[in-house]
């Protein structure tokens, strides 16, 4: 028998439609304190492991290496240096909005003074010829802050 639906062999494509799915994530105590630090104190908080001494930012409950609970908070301030960066030029789809991101956009890994891990954020400069690995940077905060990572608007080279 030929194609059972009649006529030649056709290949269809079905879409999932336009529906959105909203998620609600619970931050937990540590992430909440970090975000409240941005909102209320305009400062970046880290946490120190009592066993290995590593200072983590963002702060978290458990030091993965030592598997111990941490509770020694460290105020890391707002300055550090660019550990690594990239300038995104490809306007891929942002999963949060379903729309293409605005490019060019500079994503940076900031090693804040006193921290052993990096914070990810944006740099206000998008010309890679004007950005250097190792450059000193400072966080610029928004006037109206809501307790999210975007209470820091971006970092700038100083």
């Amino acid at each position: 028998m030929g194609a059972p639906a009649g006529g030649e062999k056709k290949l269809l494509e079905i879409s999932s439609g336009e529906a959105e799915h909203v998620y609600y994530w619970h931050c937990g105590y540590y992430m909440s304190q970090f975000l409240l630090g941005l909102r209320d104190r305009k400062t970046i908080l880290g946490i120190k492991c009592p066993r290995c001494g590593r200072v983590y930012v963002p702060p978290r409950e458990v030091c993965g290496r030592c598997f111990v609970t941490m509770d020694e908070w460290v105020d890391l301030g707002t300055e550090g240096y660019i550990y690594a960066f990239t300038v995104v030029k490809l306007p891929y789809i942002d999963p949060n909005t379903g729309k293409p991101i605005k490019v060019p956009r500079t994503d940076i890994y900031v090693k804040l003074d006193g921290a052993d891990t990096c914070l990810m954020h944006w740099l206000d400069e998008t010309d890679e010829k004007k950005i250097a690995v190792g450059a000193r940077v400072k966080a610029v905060f928004k006037k109206r802050r809501r307790g999210t990572i975007h209470d820091i608007e971006y970092f700038k080279q100083i």
């Binding site: 290949l11 300038v87 030029k89 490809l90 999963p95 956009r105 994503d107 890994y109 944006w122």
Partner: protein
């Protein structure tokens, strides 16, 4: 005590950007049929199946159940494994553990992806923490691009050094009928291709492919009865690190170094450049092919560009890398790392056709996933 285990059959689809003619189950079935044919086995001979992909990419999360008709897992023990880009490496390790444990004699690992059914960059971005990192994560490309920016500053390497890796892998694919991208390119082509995330350009980057791969593992008793030249598993190693990208230590690359150290130790290798005959490496970007050679102890820090320039890793070089064309030529993500294992096995078994490296006794395959998860497998023509 682990039983000796060997790879006895490999099957894969002809990878391409869009397989509009098949759904996921049918794609899987193609690879499974080819692997069984390669090993001259039937489904009755398979005792268990391990399957994996990036399950949210096709928005089907119960893949082990959904694909049962295509995978041959009907009423058989099946387990789903999914570890991001490194999925294929974990699939292979898992199949190996199943046989080595003594519970199963013949096990098939299946990796697959229909990248064309979704938006790869958006889907990959969901591996980054939604509250703290997702918005700053430049898709799959961002972290590796930032890694190379650091390396260039530290060692004076250039974008051209990475472009040479891109040229090698792309042009090797011309010998591989299964590869997705098969077009001759030059360093100039790479340098002129559009910038994606500085400094990584289009031709430095892996494509998105639809494809599947199946690899059959068998116990010491069964393997020689199935094929005259099995590829014996001498070692596997798996190493996973933190979930926050900001935790990476790009200077030390702890997960890659730990995985390489462990796998070499388990296989008795002290000088990988001399003792390994061919490598199928999971290099999602050409830049990785520069930096990671050093953290795999093939050469010392900062030395990689000069080895690349001398052709050490070319088909006629001392240590051919990616005769299949690698990830830069073919990337159905859930299958990609399993294809590395399958291609390394074909090299040991002498079945790699036009891409065969001569006299392969020891082959290595690696797997990589976004959170800098690394896996490695060492295969040899002789029993461990």
């Amino acid at each position: 005590m682990a039983r000796r285990t060997a790879i006895v059959g490999v099957g894969q689809t002809y990878h391409t950007s869009k397989r509009k003619d098949v759904n996921g189950q049918e794609l899987i079935n193609e690879a499974v049929k080819r692997a069984l044919e390669d090993a001259n086995l039937t489904l009755k001979d398979i005792d268990a199946i391990i399957i994996g992909n990036m399950d949210h990419f096709e928005a089907i999360n119960y893949v082990d159940c959904w694909s049962v008709d295509g995978s041959g897992a009907f009423m058989k023990p099946i387990m789903k494994v999914t570890t991001g880009g490194s999925t294929g490496g974990t699939l292979g390790a898992c199949a190996y553990y199943h046989v080595a444990s003594g519970f199963f004699d013949v096990v098939m690992a299946i990796g697959w992806e229909k990248n064309s059914e979704s938006d790869t960059q958006a889907a990959i971005s969901t591996c980054a923490d939604p509250i703290l990192e997702r918005d700053f994560f430049g898709g799959a490309i961002g972290p590796n691009a930032a890694e190379y920016a650091m390396y260039m500053k530290e060692y004076g390497a250039t974008q051209e050094d990475a472009a040479r890796v891109a040229v090698r892998d792309h042009n090797n694919a011309l010998n591989n009928p299964y590869a997705h991208l098969r077009k001759f390119i030059t360093v100039e082509d790479v340098m002129n291709s559009p910038m994606l995330c500085w400094p990584i350009k289009l031709l430095d980057s892996c494509p998105r492919s639809d494809g599947a791969c199946a690899v059959i593992y068998a116990s010491e008793d069964r393997a020689p009865k199935i094929t005259p030249k099995p590829a014996w598993v001498h070692a596997t190693a798996v190493s996973h690190d933190y979930v926050y990208f900001g935790d990476f230590d790009w200077e030390a690359m702890p997960t890659l170094e730990a995985t390489a150290t462990r796998v070499y130790k388990r296989a008795g290798i002290t000088n990988p450049l001399k003792e390994i005959d061919v490598m199928e490496l999971y290099l999602p970007f050409s830049t990785c092919g520069v930096i990671w050679m050093e953290h795999m102890w093939v050469c010392s820090r900062g030395e990689s560009p000069s080895l690349i320039r001398r052709g050490v890793f070319d088909m006629k070089g001392e240590l051919p890398v990616n005769p299949s064309g690698g990830v830069l030529s073919t990337n159905p993500i859930g299958a990609t790392a399993l294809i590395r294992i399958g291609e390394a096995a074909l090299q040991v078994m002498g079945k790699a056709g036009d891409r065969q490296v001569s006299n392969v006794k020891t082959a290595m395959a690696t797997a990589f996933g976004s959170c800098y998860w690394f896996e490695a497998t060492i295969l040899r023509a002789t029993k461990p």
